[in-house]
């Protein structure tokens, strides 16, 4: 665990909420939320969310930091932006959820390590960092095996038919991953960005 954001000491201690306002991408508009529920109601998989964005935002105000950063709401976002266009207060909900997920990853919450989305993101960025491009085959593979060898094989087998179809239609690339020429350059840029990010102590 690596507490980046402050830990509230009591209900509605605003130190965490204020951290979110100031440091989370789009967080400055979070204070405008009037709890109408349009976001949670518009989410395609809102029924699969423990809290939904609306309640999650109230929990941020209530200082329920751990409950927020371990909530499945931040991992289940399908990035459809339905909530963003519906929000009567123009809160950029999707961006906030993504950045909260990043905060959860950085703070090292166990839930963040276990979440599908976090595992997938890790695999994805591994490819993007290493090759400058994402190789869907490698990303999926690494993602599957992040659950362990057995589970990875199980998932791989389960999707064998799909993979085969993709290979047959030449939509899954089998040789060396596609890569950019200036890999070092990109890695240097990313390293510097990471450094600035850490310097700010935040994602932005």
């Amino acid at each position: 665990m690596n507490a980046i954001s402050p830990n509230p000491s009591r209900a509605y201690d605003l130190n965490f909420a204020r951290y979110v306002y100031e440091n989370i991408d789009g967080g400055e508009r979070l204070r405008m939320c009037m709890q109408c529920g349009a976001c949670s109601g518009s989410c395609p998989i809102g029924q699969q969310m423990d809290h939904g964005p609306r309640k999650l935002f109230m929990m941020i105000r209530a200082g329920m930091k751990e409950a927020v950063l371990t909530s499945n709401t931040i991992w289940n976002c399908v990035s459809c932006y339905n909530c963003v266009v519906r929000c009567p207060r123009k809160v950029p909900i999707t961006y906030i959820l993504h950045d909260l997920a990043n905060l959860a990853v950085r703070e090292g919450f166990d839930a963040a390590k276990k979440a599908d989305n976090a595992r997938f993101a890790k695999a994805f960025m591994w490819s993007a960092r290493k090759y400058g491009r994402t190789d869907e085959r490698l990303v999926t593979g690494i993602y599957y095996f992040s659950f362990g060898l057995l589970e990875g094989m199980k998932r791989g087998m389960g999707n064998q038919k799909i993979a085969l179809n993709m290979i047959k239609t030449k939509r899954m690339h089998l040789g060396m991953p596609h890569a950019i020429k200036a890999k070092d350059e990109l890695q240097n840029i990313l390293a510097k960005a990471q450094e600035i990010q850490d310097r700010h102590g935040k994602g932005a």
Binding site: D25, P44, I45, Q48, N76, C77, V78, S79, C80, Y81, N82, V84, V85, K90, T94, H98, D99, N102, R106, D116, N117, A118, F120, A121, F124, M125, S127, A128, G132, R133, T134, D135, E136, R137, Y143, K161, I162, N165, M166, K168, T169, K170, R171, M172, H178, I180, K181, A182, E185, L186, I189, L190, K192, A193, Q194, I196, Q197, H200, G203, A204
Partner: protein, 297 residues
């Protein structure tokens, strides 16, 4: 009259959406657009990069692309991929709107001697077709109208929605009830079905990583398309195309359905209607579920 635009194909152009890239490169020149790829373009981070990398590092991915694009010229950057558009446009507009972010990103770019000033314009290819090219020009290229083909136009989420209600918007259509895809269909001489689930979500990358969470969404889409008697589903989005197509056998297995509906890109429809080669130009052999009607079988 021909113009050259900077093109950002995105990672899917080399993998799951190679047929989108192929068909676009076939239809755009006749419509007067030459594409010049961003030099050594890299991944945009899609919808998950942010989670792992953080906002700034994720933005740095797009910043490098924009820096390379700007170095080649001031032309608009166009991209066919919803996620690429989303990230590149967002970062571009964020740089315009925030001196801090602009400073941070240029500091990062600076380590390799690059920089970006936020002066480019990032656009989706569909917007280009709607706003700059126009349907009259598209119709003018149609040699083999797709008469009788019933098309469910599935727009998905990210092409029209992300900035719809902000000052960042490239407002070319409604985020709830966009009609551009139907216009494309009709321009090709095909029948646009009243597909009301056109902006319902397919689950995006969540469907990829956790099918349990998203498959029912795809099922609902297919049900509606089947009910309408769709010959094909047309879409502009690489991930939508892949999700809706590749999961059909799995959905049939789980829900006892019998879906076998081809899912194609609008650009593939245009390529065929323009009288180009269904395989070589439209890449229709690269669809898992083949459309016999389009392949002329």
């Amino acid at each position: 009259m021909s113009r050259t635009l900077t093109y950002y194909p995105g990672c899917s152009s080399q993998a799951s959406a190679v047929h989108l890239d192929k068909s676009l490169r076939a239809i755009l020149p006749p419509l007067g657009v030459q594409l010049r790829d961003i030099d050594d373009w890299n991944c945009c981070g899609a919808s998950v990069g942010h989670i792992e990398a953080g906002h700034l590092a994720n933005s740095a991915l797009s910043a490098r692309n924009l820096a390379n694009a700007k170095a080649a010229g001031p032309e608009d950057v166009v991209t066919p991929c919803a996620a690429c558009y989303l990230n590149t446009h967002y970062v571009n507009e964020s740089i315009r709107g925030s001196e801090t972010l602009k400073g941070d990103l240029n500091e990062a770019l600076g380590v390799v001697g690059k920089s970006y000033d936020g002066s480019l314009h990032v656009r989706h290819i569909c917007e280009l077709l709607v706003t700059d090219i126009g349907m009259d020009a598209v119709k003018a290229q149609v040699k083999k109208p797709l008469t009788g083909l019933k098309v469910a136009g599935y727009v998905g989420c990210q092409t029209v929605r992300p900035f719809a209600n902000t000052e960042r918007a490239n407002k070319f259509d409604s985020y709830d009830d966009p009609t551009f895809l139907d216009d494309f269909t009709q321009a090709c001489g095909a029948e646009a079905l009243p597909f009301k689930m056109r902006t319902h979500c397919c689950g995006g990358s969540v469907s990829v990583m956790s099918p349990d969470k998203g498959l029912h969404l795809i099922k609902e889409l297919l049900e509606e398309a089947q009910k309408l008697g769709a010959d094909v589903i047309s879409t502009p989005c690489p991930l939508c195309q892949t999700n809706v197509e590749m999961y059909q056998p799995e959905i049939n297995k789980r829900f006892g359905t019998g879906f076998n509906i081809p899912v194609v890109f609008y650009s593939q429809l245009m390529a065929v209607a323009f009288g180009l080669d269904p395989v070589k130009d439209a890449g229709l052999d690269q669809n898992i579920i083949k459309s016999d009607k389009l392949l002329g079988r």
